[in-house]
């Protein structure tokens, strides 16, 4: 390895933590995933220095893709400053010495837990999803041998029954996240637990989208400009829903919102889940109903 002068870089690790043999294995799986969009490629997932459920699949895909020239952004539910995002970002700063950023437009590789950034992704960017349960049919059919056969035969009636049961019970498709999609008219895919508000961004994105499930040992992919359709019915078309509010900090009406409880008197506010998007808007002068003028900036 070349000498790095970053004091935080741990030289005792191979570049991006994983050994080369493991990276080759993951890279081969990624390439096959790209060749068959939406199909879940099995891979020999490794133990990572973080627990399952904290993004071990995404971390392995990111480690296999990173180059020293990359600029990495890590988000957890849209936020750059939550525990999971901070831990993974520091992990790659230490083991790969890569530059990091919170800006969506400046990042070359974005690892995400459960959100797609609000700002449009661009050609050349890679979005890596952390996936807990990659199999969209798993809660309908627990046997792997059966779900594999169902994918083989394109036997997806069961998942439509599930959506229909939503309508029968609630009058509408109540599934709000991990909303199943069909890729290029062939494979039904779990887009990871992103809100269904994000589903339209899966389709025809100029960026490459990679999905890693560590505990479940699956990698799948959506190449750029892949046609992705959210499953629905003619009389109950898919609807990308969000809370019917504007962001209370930046005033955005078109971003996905988190509801934040502010006191024990029923007080609440709605804020953008994408912290970078919200910050950029506030800096540009957009203020929401509960925004406090930035004193440091105006001094």
């Amino acid at each position: 390895m070349t000498a790095h002068h970053d004091a935080t870089l741990a030289d005792s690790y191979n570049f991006a933590y994983l050994d080369e043999q493991t990276k080759r294995m993951i890279r081969r799986a990624i390439l096959k995933g790209v060749a068959v969009p939406g199909y879940q490629v099995p891979f020999a997932s490794r133990e990572m220095p973080m627990p399952y459920g904290w993004g071990t699949g995404g971390v392995q895909v990111t480690a296999a893709c990173l180059t020293p020239d990359d600029r990495l952004k890590v988000i957890d539910q849209g936020a750059d400053d939550t525990t999971n995002a901070v831990s993974i970002r520091k992990f790659f700063q230490r083991t790969a010495g890569v530059a990091v950023t919170e800006s969506t437009v400046e990042a070359t590789l974005i690892q995400t837990r459960h959100r797609i950034p609000e700002s449009a992704l661009t050609a050349g960017q890679i979005l890596v999803y952390q996936v807990p349960i990659p199999e969209p049919l798993r809660f309908l059919e627990p046997r792997e041998t059966e779900t594999r056969k169902m994918h083989e035969l394109e036997e997806y009636g069961l998942i439509h029954v599930k959506l229909y049961e939503d309508i029968a019970r609630h009058g509408t498709i109540a599934t709000a996240y991990a909303y199943p999609v069909k890729v290029e008219g062939r494979y039904v895919m779990d887009p990871s637990p992103i809100p269904k508000f994000d589903n339209p961004k899966l389709s025809n994105s100029p960026a490459l989208q990679l999905f890693g499930a560590g505990r479940e040992q699956r990698i799948y992919a959506l190449p750029p400009f892949t046609h992705v359709v959210s499953l629905d019915f003619d009389d109950h078309p898919f609807e990308a829903s969000k809370a019917p509010h504007d962001c209370d900090l930046c005033g955005a009406s078109d971003s996905y919102l988190d509801e934040v409880i502010t006191d024990d008197q029923g007080g609440r506010m709605f804020v953008c889940s994408d912290t970078d998007f919200c910050r950029v808007r506030q800096e540009a002068g957009h203020l929401g109903a509960m925004a406090v003028p930035n004193l440091a900036g105006s001094a």
Partner: protein, 188 residues
């Protein structure tokens, strides 16, 4: 020192990471042509094919050498640098050779209906490689892309097998392009 010992990566982690990103870019955007540098394999293996070999192959990936590529110099180089078992076309995960030498294509693994990923990757050595010729449409392509494919019919037949089928990288000197099985190919 034997020539077989030379020509590998000098900084494998960094060089293979850059090489993989180029391979990922061309496979996820069919028609795109990128440069692969860093290895100096023995002839007739091109630089780009040698870099792909070092980046993707190891002791767990059976490699098939077709036609003129099946020579002592290349066999020794692969054995030393990758440790990949050299096998017949039917058992290969990766195959290297000229387009005509790789025929008949029916020998290569196209995956199984329940495991379409268990398919061969062909690394086709080309005399020229340009973004002209056959029209490509499908995942990875915004509208239409073009690539100087060695023929059309074989790739149309391969696409008809989707989600089964083999995937191809095309190499020419230091240049690489790719055609996954998902791409629809038409003559212009």
């Amino acid at each position: 020192m034997s020539d077989a010992l030379l020509g590998g990566f000098e900084q494998a982690p960094l060089q293979s990471s850059n090489a993989f990103r180029a391979a990922l870019a061309v496979l996820s955007q069919p028609g795109e042509i990128r440069e692969l540098q860093g290895a100096l394999p023995p002839a007739p293996l091109s630089v780009a094919a040698g870099v792909l070999l070092l980046t993707l192959c190891d002791g767990t990936t059976p490699v098939h050498l077709a036609g003129g590529h099946d020579c002592a110099a290349v066999r020794d180089w692969i054995t030393f640098h990758c440790g990949a078992p050299l096998v017949g076309a039917e058992a290969a995960t990766f195959a290297f050779g000229d387009w005509t030498a790789l025929h008949p294509l029916g020998r290569f693994a196209i995956g199984q209906p329940d495991y379409p990923d268990r398919a061969a990757t062909l690394i086709v050595e080309m005399a020229t490689l340009t973004a002209t010729g056959a029209a490509l449409r499908g995942p990875g392509i915004a509208e239409v892309a073009h690539l100087s494919l060695p023929e059309i019919a074989a790739f149309q037949a391969n696409r008809a097998l989707f989600p089964l089928g083999f995937d191809c990288f095309f190499t020419c000197g230091v240049w690489v392009a790719a055609l996954p099985r998902s791409t629809r190919v038409e003559a212009v």
